[in-house]
């Protein structure tokens, strides 16, 4: 038998699903090759060498053997365990939300260093932003931008004229802001969006994380933007981000 070809990679574990008796299929977002789905043999046995390493939200370096259908992890080492996240319920729920967004927005084996960096930075900064959900909104907006779904928030999506400082509409279908005039003529559904929400979206899309986190945003506005981005993401993916509900449950 020919020796299997092997390769090395490093990445962050997004999720794992049980396979057979004691194996698990692990989804990992790697630095060089994007999202990979790999088999980890025997990890569900408590004596496994790999069990503790392949939990979601762990940054690991792995050795992989190529297989016919799916590759198999042969060795794992932890680079960063993000222990502070997994020991706090709210942080875990937010971290899993990040992982689910990355998982749903990306396809297998499509390299994306920006996605990796966003996830890695996002997890690393979670603890410092404990009391606010602004970091979640930043993550959502940046992921939309990286993957090419960034909404148009400077011009009207219908007539392409620069938007006046005013409240307008947001159309999921058109992927951006619909000027108030075009909105009144349009028969398609669009959500109302305030001047403040437009400003916040622009900040989230184009400013650095530190500047965004320095903003003092009223709770009402945050809730508006959360709903708006949530509905847009739902529309873009045509899937529900399941872990979002749990964050709501935990923070209430």
């Amino acid at each position: 038998m020919a020796r299997p070809r092997t390769y090395k990679s490093e990445g962050i574990i997004l999720k794992g699903i049980p396979l057979g008796e004691a194996d698990r299929i692990v989804t990992i977002y790697t630095l060089g090759s994007g999202k990979l789905r790999l088999v980890a043999k025997g990890v569900r046995r408590s004596r496994s060498r790999m069990s503790g390493y392949l939990e979601p939200l762990t940054y690991v370096s792995i050795s992989v053997a190529e297989g016919r259908n799916i590759d198999t992890i042969t060795e794992v080492e932890i680079i960063q365990s993000f222990r502070e996240i997994r020991e706090d319920l709210l942080l875990v729920s937010k971290g899993l939300y990040f992982a689910e967004i990355v998982d749903k927005f990306t396809v297998d084996r499509s390299p994306g260093s920006a996605e990796f960096k966003l996830l890695f930075d996002g997890l690393g900064r979670l603890k410092a932003s404990y009391t606010t959900d602004l970091a979640l909104r930043y993550f959502e907006m940046q992921m939309l931008k990286i993957t090419g779904f960034g909404p148009e928030i400077y011009q009207c999506v219908e007539c392409h004229t620069e938007l006046e400082v005013d409240s307008h509409g947001f159309s999921n279908l058109k992927g951006g802001i619909l000027g108030s005039e075009c909105r009144s003529k349009s028969s398609e559904p669009s959500a109302a969006i305030s001047v403040g929400a437009i400003k916040l979206l622009r900040y989230l899309q184009n400013e650095s994380y530190d500047r965004v986190m320095g903003l003092n945003i009223p709770e009402v506005l945050l809730v508006d933007v959360e709903k708006l981005l949530g509905s847009y993401i739902r529309y873009v993916l045509d899937k529900k981000i399941k872990s979002k509900e749990f964050i709501g449950l935990i923070s209430s």
Partner: protein
């Protein structure tokens, strides 16, 4: 679908049913089916009976939700057991593992799952309300959260702790440490640091 042209009617049906079981692939399903065809009728009948019997006679204990033949189950109705302690586990199988050790003499509570936000499984899908009722009504002084030591299990335990601690009841978690027969070299960071923190006098 794994329906092959060689497998006709009842055989194909049997193969399909086996294939639905966990850990059984199409080949194994076929092998099992052909084994059954070769079996004496009496053996096949006793297998069928065992399957039907388990569904007919086994119920969930109304107290701890463990699988049982009599309700309440043997553990819940055993007066020699320590009713001040409840050990919370994910699945009925975990009760079997713990019982085998003989080291625990308290009662159990089976959640029938674990909080798994990414798959949309929240606390409302688990047997949590009845656990809280048991704690509030009874003479319970300690709740042991024996969910699996993985991310979902930990999240579930943290969630339960948030609900139970305010009731003034001791909430504990089984110790984390090095497995018997394991190698220090291969222990992960978190396990190893917990094992050191929880070390005991030798």
């Amino acid at each position: 679908m794994i329906r092959r042209h060689q497998d006709v009617g009842p055989v194909a049906k049997l193969v399909e049913e086996f294939h639905k079981l966990p850990g059984i692939g199409p080949k194994m399903a076929q092998r099992l089916s052909y084994h059954i065809i070769r079996m004496p009728n009496s053996e096949a009948a006793s297998l069928a009976e065992a399957i039907v019997g388990v569904k007919d006679r086994i119920v969930l204990c109304s107290v701890c939700h463990n699988i049982t033949e009599s309700d309440p189950c043997n553990v819940c109705s055993d007066s020699t057991r320590d009713s001040a302690r409840i050990c919370v586990v994910e699945e009925a199988l975990d009760v079997v593992s713990l019982e085998r050790t003989g080291a625990y003499r308290g009662l159990y509570h089976v959640l029938h799952g674990v909080i798994d936000p990414m798959n949309g499984i929240g606390p409302e899908n688990l047997k949590i309300k009845s656990l809280l009722d048991r704690i509030k009504n009874g003479t319970v002084t300690e709740v042991i959260l024996a969910t699996n030591p993985n991310l979902e299990g930990e999240a579930t335990s943290m969630y339960l702790q948030r609900l139970i601690s305010p009731l003034g009841i001791l909430v504990t978690r089984p110790a984390r440490g090095l497995p018997v027969g394991g190698d220090l070299e291969y222990a992960d960071e978190v396990t190893l640091s917990r094992a050191i923190e929880g070390r005991q006098e030798f």
